[in-house]
Symmetry: C2
Subunit: 369 residues, 2 copies
């Protein structure tokens, strides 16, 4: 089980500073959680994950269920002992991957029949199975099984899907036997009335926290912000709100102002592997010729163990396809998001998050596309 407490509300922005107590650690919110899809944050060791996270990371149910499978994970006693992670863990329900990765879905009331995204093997996930798998994975915080419709789904589709997702949320909660904290997932696309309906029904069932799903799935950023702003006064004040799959620096700033407490995203790790780096000055593309002879560290504003490497050397490593480049850039991207979230929390404490936001856009090249 978890405990959550709002410690302070920023007088300038309305953003929340919270305290999330889990069996595996106590965390200040708002918090960003690095993604360890396959029981490892890509390219990093557990020691490095410690350094660039707050101690709370995410793993993906769909991937780990398919490989190595729950028998291997059960043998280790869960994902955390398997990967030697002594921090806290959150798992998603597999719902998002079923709808984003898997092929030939057949959505029934009982669950979803689909084919594995690589092997094509037939698979079935239901609210109950998603709970059982997540109990094997052993995370501190787990998610309800939901459908995540595409951004462009019609009102009719969203409404039917949402009603089923609510029934699934109830079934999952009824099935869960462990004392893992369970979050319900708010869906409803870009339709405010559906989002409101989703929150109301989930709150009736009652969850330890509320995730916001169905955003960052192709809609314009302003639309995402509109929905989180709409949800801010509707979601229960005293429970954590987790915006799923969002992690661009500007999205963190904007959505914290809209009352979000928790974030995860593959962006920092994926960007790193493509040479795109988050720094205190903004986005940097290490491949650019301008860094060929640049002896500065990748982020002079954020001293760290990787500051000893020059941009010139990192550019060389990246162009030479050296894995060390991806390691260093992944480290930087996650460290920057950790740093940004700590700055955001400080600004909330000081009731100046709107000032911070203005400085953030002035001092960096981050922007809302």
């Amino acid at each position: 089980m978890i405990k959550f407490e709002v410690l302070h509300v920023c007088k300038q922005s309305g953003a929340r500073l919270g305290k999330l107590t889990t069996p595996s650690g106590v965390f200040e919110t708002p918090i960003f959680m690095p993604v360890g899809t396959q029981a490892t944050v890509k390219t990093l060791s557990v020691e490095e994950i410690k350094e660039v996270s707050e101690g709370l990371i995410l793993a993906n149910t769909y991937h780990l269920w398919v490989q190595p499978g729950t028998d291997v994970i059960d043998l280790h006693g869960g994902v955390k002992p398997m990967m030697n992670w002594d921090g806290a863990l959150l798992t998603d329900s597999g719902g998002f991957q079923v709808f984003s990765l898997a092929k030939l879905r057949d959505i029934k009331e009982e669950g979803v029949y689909f084919k594995h995204h690589k092997s094509g093997a037939p698979l079935f996930l239901s609210p109950e199975i998603a709970m059982d798998i997540q109990t094997s994975l052993g995370a501190d915080i787990i998610m309800s099984f939901d459908e995540c419709p595409p951004a462009k789904a019609s009102y009719e589709y969203q409404k039917n899907s949402l009603d089923r997702t609510i029934r699934w949320a109830k079934r999952g909660k009824d099935h869960l036997k462990s004392d893992q904290a369970l979050f319900g997932i708010v869906q409803g696309g870009l339709y405010e009335d559906l989002r409101k309906h989703s929150v109301e029904e989930l709150v009736k069932i009652g969850f330890d926290g509320y995730s916001i799903g169905g955003l960052s799935v192709g809609e314009p950023k302003r639309e995402m912000y509109r929905i989180t702003e709409f949800l801010n006064p509707i979601l229960p004040f005293d429970k954590p709100r987790y915006l799923m799959g969002v992690g661009a620096p500007e999205d963190l700033v904007e959505n914290v102002i809209n009352g979000v407490d928790m974030f995860d995203c593959v962006l920092p790790t994926r960007n790193a592997r493509h040479g795109t780096v988050f720094t205190t000055e903004g986005k940097v593309n290490i491949k650019n010729l301008q860094y060929e002879m640049d002896l500065n560290p990748i982020d002079p504003g954020l001293p760290s163990p990787i500051s000893k490497y020059t941009k010139s050397y990192l550019r060389h490593l990246y162009k030479a396809n050296e894995i060390l480049a991806m390691r260093i850039l992944t480290y930087q991207n996650l460290l920057y998001l950790k740093h940004l979230m700590s700055e955001i929390r400080q600004a909330i404490k000081e009731d100046r998050l709107l000032d911070f936001k203005n400085e953030f856009y002035q001092k960096t090249n981050y922007k809302i596309d």
Copy 2:
């Protein structure tokens, strides 16, 4: 400059225990040097390289000359400051890569005209240019520019090539202005008279050490051992002997007995990326199904920071294409070779290297194919 001293000769095997003093560290020999082709040992950080090496590594002239180029390396003050390596460094001359990687070679007395192995750009290397590049790279120990003919080259070809390589060695030495230690490279293929001729002529020129090139290029292992055994009494006793490109565990044991002091090879790092692991019990293929439910560390006989990971987890990471798998397996492979070389040195000190060799083959699955 370097200093080399034979401290002890194993009474049982004739193997040499030596002390190699470089401007960047003092090393006991025989020693294995991990390969950092592009100014990084693949997948590892410099901190990790320290842990799995003796503090002496190799970088490749051809690769670094082509990318990032000597202008970038000069800007950093050499490869060592560029990669933040505070140990010692050895570079090859580029000769091997010109003959193994590059296309459309035209070998003239003045040097080799060839095309870049990827871009096809026209390039030229000569004994003098190879010295200049290696002076930019700034290694403690550098190599003469040589031709490395294929294992199956005819006697006639080997002889002509060898005579030119000797003339190139002289030109390189005459051209070198720095105080870097320069090794001559013994060639001559599998022909003992040519090998003898090569040693005699190189010794007349006079070098700080003698490399044995042209082995591990496709010939049977027994042929390689025959040549090193032949060279053992011929090479100057008081200079280090470096067998280039050799690093299989059994080859280290056999060639130390044949008087070799230094080794390098990409095998441990390349094998790691293909899931093949060197352990104190022998070779392990982490992909094998037998490790799916194996909770033991990868090498129970060699405790290290990676012993916390189970074989089952490593197999999962490898099958999931996670870079962490390659990191951990690279670490293990290099750590094992470091361990093996320290065992070999201890056995030399105790005049029991032949006993050690017998135990090595009995206790492991390493063998001479």
